[in-house]
Symmetry: C2
Subunit: 687 residues, 2 copies
């Protein structure tokens, strides 16, 4: 091992040299084609087009090399166990550097071929036909341009080239990230803390949005009075800002949590909240945009418009939710039969998940929200129907897509700080935003935690609350939402401020996670599979499960476990056991033959689990859950629908995760898998 | 040639191409302006943009559902062991059906918002600024439109919407297909038949191109005389047609070969030829386009222009080749160190392979050709440096991409038969094309096989020749090349004819493969791992190895095995053994510590191989290669550079494939893996 490292160092210069020489190659290789005097028009146009194509390829190559560089540096960091800077922070730094180079380092000669013509027409159709000396050329609308930017259009050709259409982020890069978040949700701990997570994500995001909105409105009013404001900034703009910065993205913190194996409940709370509040923030911001009172007073308060916005929020959210779940269930049903053919399974899984996004967009719902719930459904049902190889494949595929998309977004963030041409940095607004963000996050976490603790047995302790407060990072979603529309002064100021907020939280908060953890004395090194046995030491905390999983959730769980799982997947008890006897033939028809086999399997696995975690039963203080309960459980599946559901539920959720380990050839825990693949087991041991 | 290429290349920013039908104009249109009177106008624009975005999502959804349907039907076919129709043929049929529905079934109301304006300017810049009552709108050039199509632009909005930019095929869909072909090349059998493969691919493609071009020129001349020709059709057009239809794509046949386990040499010949002749055809066609004699006589013969075309062919081909190999080697060097982190490895592999394409395009070479050789290099070097999980991951990733891209292209082919609006079906030309294709293929296979058989010991038997003749299918590459430019009458006629050729070969030739195999009495059920022992029964045929691997190849092989492999990968003999003693320190510096460990490993594996396949040594009739040779071989690696190279070579190539089996947890033979994943082992047994 030591020899290997020395060897790596020896080679370090070699491959860095090779890498650096790559971009140099580009410029050298760009041989200008021989000039021909025969100025045939089409040849010239062809040359122009070819030149432009080359330029585009070179521009994209910059991003690819940026990502490659990021990967190499990440590797170096991982290798040296340097945990101070997360890969996304790194990607941002590289993006910044390239942005600076593009902005100040490269002088692009003005493109002569790109002369802009003005012609007076009285509408702006999507397609324009231009008659050039008898030939017709088709033009498509790209968008409106501010009058004062007209001259920039030609001047900043280079900067414009590396600027992507903002919708790329929303339609290409976010979906895999969000889907991966849903697909890798650790369902066991998610469901156990579901009440709290929903409270933080829904109530908390709305609270945070309005608190930040109000504070920013105060700030903006103040700015107007001291003459710092250069344009309009309405209350709806403030609320919009509140909504977009309420989408937390603790990817940095979670990566460190995962590496250090922080308490699983804290992890579940943070991850669950961040996944769901992205969805809430997207829908919330689009509802705020939709708030447009009619008539003259277009920026005043109006009840009808507010109700309409609220209706839109509910409609879009539930619609997206329903679509995502529906596609997930359809995929589960299809993959029920496809088991033998891995490539087909994987391809189908990918296509169906993508079609959720497109379907939602086509219906006017929000694609990313639909994709999130589709991911959760796929993990809950479809995953069980896939062959072990396809389980691996799909996990790995979305892990890779997530990794690439995330690093791309963050490096683009760095780049855009210098290449975006309409930045409005207003110091007062920026300071106000940071203060508002802080207060907004606090107003989300502390009051809600207090209220939740009234109902929770497993209290969210104050150090957990501080940690959640601290880990309220902003990331990809906030960026994508803010870059989507940068047409007005208000939106430009928001975008610039958002960028700074993301930089600050990723670098400062992300970098300080380990310090914060030790400062708050939060236990690390908790093995998620054995957290049950660890919690024994903490006495009655474990009882929380029953407490938190309220009656609504229990009913849902029973329904899911007894009917949905057996119908949609190969796992779960056979329907013949769960349905009333009168439905016998139907039950036999719907139950997969494997479910019957599974039952024996289930018994074994279950009793195995009980035997191994024998001491867990101690934690269920008030009910006698031990071998007796498991005996009852295994005796025909009646216990599933019976009275002792709450511990069944917990065990089943635990079992759900276990099942994955047993099926796959390698460890594929939904979430453990996402990061540990970086660190080999023996690396972990040494930490 | 009218400059329609501008049209094709203009859009080439790859990210935007991915977006294909997602709207470009949404974001900037969403400007909410403070003015009261313009507020309503903005809302209208927003609505319009949203509507267009929905429509685009729905259009893309059509394709996704088409692919899903194809997958489901393939599954049904696989399940029922129905081997008559390949998945690509199926995808085409579904595409055809959807095309018919779109063309005749759906009446799209004329889009009122899309009124086209004519304005007179005297140039066609890439960007156009339109001044609409004080506001500036930016338009980008989409391309030229024929005067007689101007009215169609509005009428066929729906058909235009489902029509992709032709460059999508070349820049998005072909690269993964071609890379996968290179990456899954079964190197052992490929290298063994390398001479023949190169002859078929280079000489054969050129012969076929010129024969077809000449025949078509005759056909076209005849058509002109009987008045069947409705436009210009020059000799260069004929040659271009010859080049594009010379790219064979026997994906259908190879899938069946793989399933039935047809003779590996036949497989290697067909696959190797098809992989390489795609590259040759691409470069050849672009060289023919570049053949433009100066002055008035622009379509006559001119030596200088011919030489220039030939120079371009050589330059582009060798440049693309060098770039591809270089990137592959850089990736190998980098992945040499990244071994511990699977996700990073996979991401890096993907990014580097993609950057090959971009780099080649940016330098003016051909991306797909570079990607092909990059794939082969990655398989040869990088693959050995990857961890077993990453080997699986990369294989599976590109397998999936290949599957999706291929089926997408073929279903688009079906669709385009009805939705393409400038079809020119000329019966005479079509019949002429089929005859020319048949003769061209025959002129490629039979004379070359005769010549090759003079030098080969392992003759290419006549039934193999007939099979190769029969399997000269046209596919994705031919389609992508022909749809790239459909501006002139000649190109439109070519495109329509090409489409029919592809349909015919995929359905008729592809469907008749099993019949053809049994008719030609070609042995099936040959296990590729045991073909050595089977060939024992056929006597001296196996000697061919030495014969075919000519001195040039042997020199290359020795250099590769002794120096490149040890430097670039963790496998191979340590450099200390292969370099002269004077280079000792350098050799120790460059050799991976694993290589030293490997040597012991190597010995074991090798002797294991020898022991297990003891009878193989019988086949090396004229040299004594048995335990003695292997003893010499293992005693310090001297034998590697020694005299008994030819069998070493063979064994090493064999070993190269074997190694994969031993390293990975599951069977990852470069090519066996691509298809067998469809069929479970027990399915095979039953066949």
């Amino acid at each position: 091992e030591v020899g290997m490292r020395k060897y790596h160092r020896k080679y370090a210069t070699l491959w860095l040299l090779v890498l650096v020489s790559l971009p140099v190659c580009i410029s050298v290789c760009r041989a200008s084609s021989p000039q021909e005097d025969s100025a045939m028009e089409n040849i010239v146009t062809e040359k122009k087009a070819e030149e432009s194509h080359r330029q585009d390829s070179a521009d994209l190559l910059i991003f690819i090399l940026l990502l490659t560089l990021t990967i190499l540096t990440i590797w170096l960091f991982k290798h040296r166990r340097f945990r101070f800077l997360h890969e996304t922070g790194l990607a941002m730094i590289y993006g910044l550097i390239v942005g600076v180079i593009l902005r100040y380092g490269i002088h692009v000669p003005r493109d002569v071929s790109n002369i802009t013509l003005n012609c007076q027409v009285n509408a702006s159709p999507a397609t324009l036909l231009v008659n050039v000396s008898g030939k017709f050329y088709e033009y498509t609308l790209k968008g409106e341009i501010n009058a004062n930017e007209v001259n920039d259009v030609q001047d900043n050709e280079m900067l414009r080239k590396v600027t992507f259409d903002p919708e790329v982020f929303f339609n290409i890069l976010l979906p895999p990230i969000i889907f991966h978040a849903g697909y890798s949700l650790k369902r066991r701990h998610f469901f156990r803390n579901m009440g709290s997570i929903l409270a933080y994500a829904f109530l908390g995001t709305v609270i945070s949005c309005f608190i930040i909105g109000l504070l920013m409105y105060g700030c903006v009013t103040l700015m107007k009075q001291v003459g710092q404001l250069g344009g309009d900034f309405f209350f709806t703009d403030c609320l919009f800002f509140g909504a977009i910065v309420s989408a937390t993205d603790p990817v940095t913190v979670l990566a460190i949590f995962n590496e250090l194996q922080v308490d699983v409940d804290l992890y579940a709370l943070l991850f669950g909240e961040s996944v769901l509040n992205d969805a809430v923030a997207v829908v919330l911001s689009s509802s705020i945009v939709a708030y447009q009172p009619e008539g003259d007073n277009s920026h005043t308060f109006e009840v009808m418009a507010l109700l309409k916005s609220f209706g839109i929020f509910l409609g879009v959210f539930s619609g997206s939710f329903a679509l995502g779940v529906a596609t997930g269930i359809v995929t589960a049903l299809i993959s029920f039969f496809l088991r033998d053919f891995q490539l087909l399974e994987t391809a189908l899984f990918f296509l169906m998940s993508w079609s959720t996004f497109l379907l939602a967009e086509a219906c006017g719902f929000t694609g990313v929200v639909a994709v999130l719930f589709c991911g959760i459904t796929q993990a809950h049902y479809t995953y069980n129907n896939l062959s072990p190889e396809s389980q691996d494949r799909t996990k790995q595929l979305f892990e890779l897509l997530n990794f690439l998309a995330e690093n791309f977004i963050f490096s683009y963030m760095g780049l855009t700080l210098f290449t975006f041409q309409n930045h409005v940095f207003n110091p007062m607004f920026i300071v106000g935003a940071f203060v508002a963000l802080f207060i907004g996050r606090a107003a989300n976490i502390y009051p809600l935690s207090f209220l939740l603790n009234l109902g929770r047995r497993n209290k969210i302790r104050s150090n957990f609350q501080h940690m959640m407060m601290f880990a309220g990072l902003r990331g990809a979603m906030t960026f994508a939402l803010s870059i989507r529309d940068t047409a007005t002064y208000a939106r430009q100021m928001m975008f610039s401020t958002t960028l700074l907020v993301v930089f600050f939280t990723v670098w400062i908060c992300g970098g300080g996670t380990t310090q914060m953890l030790s400062c708050q004395r939060i236990r690390v090194g908790v093995d998620s599979d054995q957290d049950n046995s660890i919690s024994v030491g903490e006495g009655s905390e474990r009882r929380s499960t029953k407490q938190e999983s309220a009656w609504l959730f229990r009913i849902w769980y029973n329904f899911d476990h007894n009917y949905l799982k057996p119908i949609l997947t190969h796992s779960g008890p056979p329907l013949t056991a769960t349905l009333p006897p009168c439905c016998g033939p139907l039950a036999r028809f719907l139950t997969s033959p494997q479910a019957f086999e599974n039952e024996c399997q289930l018994k074994d696995d279950d009793s195995d689990l009980i035997l191994r975690d024998g001491d867990i039963s101690l934690t269920y203080g008030d009910i006698t859950v031990s071998t007796d309960a498991s005996g009852a459980h295994t005796s025909g599946g009646l216990a599933f629908a019976g009275a002792s559901t709450s511990d069944d539920l917990d065990r089943e959720l635990a079992y759900g995760d276990h099942e994955l380990v047993m099926r796959g050839t390698r460890l594929v825990l939904p979430m453990d898998d996402s990061e540990p693949s970086f660190t080999e087991p023996h690396h972990r041991m040494r930490m």
